[in-house]
Symmetry: C2
């Protein structure tokens, strides 16, 4: 009834704990900010956190209908997502038209995302050297930055390691 998250969620930790922690923290933050984390918004946040990978709006819509039996239409979901994004409780992954929970919603940040093509896990960075490099190039050209989108696609450390392991398990000249 809890614990281990499936496949792309990260296969080996108490993911239920990730979800609970994210939702609890969101509650505090919203209270502090004087904005309303309504039951629907809370539930959508929970669903975004169903995995550590990007989750599509229509997947959330399906879950609202099938798991909750709730009547729901696209605007239901998109309005909740819009709120969560404004509050920086989730991020939108532009290159996938999907959404992912923010790992550090307390303070504003320019984040970067490492997105694994194998397992789907998104690692959120807040690396100043990347932010600075971008800011520097922009300002050199008189460009005023409002908003950075940095999405890196590739293979995560874990998947790379397991691929290497299975390769070395095979005979030296397999084909």
């Amino acid at each position: 009834m809890s614990s281990i998250a499936p496949g792309p969620a990260g296969a080996d930790h108490d993911h239920q704990h990730c979800i609970e922690q994210a939702v609890a923290l969101a509650g505090e933050i919203c209270q502090r900010r004087g904005v309303r984390l309504t039951p629907l918004r809370r539930r959508v946040l929970q669903l975004v956190w169903k995995s550590h990978g990007p989750v599509g709006a229509y997947a959330i819509l399906d879950w609202l209908r099938t798991e909750d039996g709730r009547s729901a239409a696209p605007p239901t979901v998109y309005r909740a997502l819009e709120f969560l994004i404004e509050q920086r409780l989730i991020h939108r992954i532009e290159s996938m038209n999907a959404f992912v929970g923010c790992v550090d919603p307390s303070r504003p940040h320019a984040a970067q995302y490492l997105i694994c093509r194998k397992c789907g896990i998104v690692t959120e960075l807040e690396d100043q050297s990347i932010t600075d490099a971008i800011a520097q190039q922009a300002s050199q050209r008189g460009f005023v930055v409002h908003d950075q989108t940095v999405e890196v696609h590739g293979i995560c450390g874990r998947c790379a390691a397991s691929a290497a392991a299975s390769r070395s398990a095979t005979p030296a000249h397999p084909a």
Copy 2:
């Protein structure tokens, strides 16, 4: 019958020249690579270059129909775009679901884009310091980079300058 491009294209240069140059260069590159820049693909490239801003697939579709009178459906356009992307003659702007001509298609490159919210112009950078900062953070985490998406939204130098000019033209305490 030529020259000055409208609005978001860049209001003050011989944009027809930009287009012709891009298409001619594309022709050479494709020949060198032994791939076929067919009339349709050439025309779609031309249409992507209609401005220096991102152009949507369906805008291209409309132009094919209304300007060329050609029978065209979405796959017509998307297939041509796919070819042009593979050949790196254009880039996809993920955060806008749109496409922009590549300013330096000869060699492969990891590019970054400065996208102006006012005038729509996209400035393509190929900055090693950004690429390196990303590569370094990734490899530190064992992440193998396949592909970087860096899209910076904000106000370009020209628009910022003209906004500042019109502000300073107004009385000191306007409201």
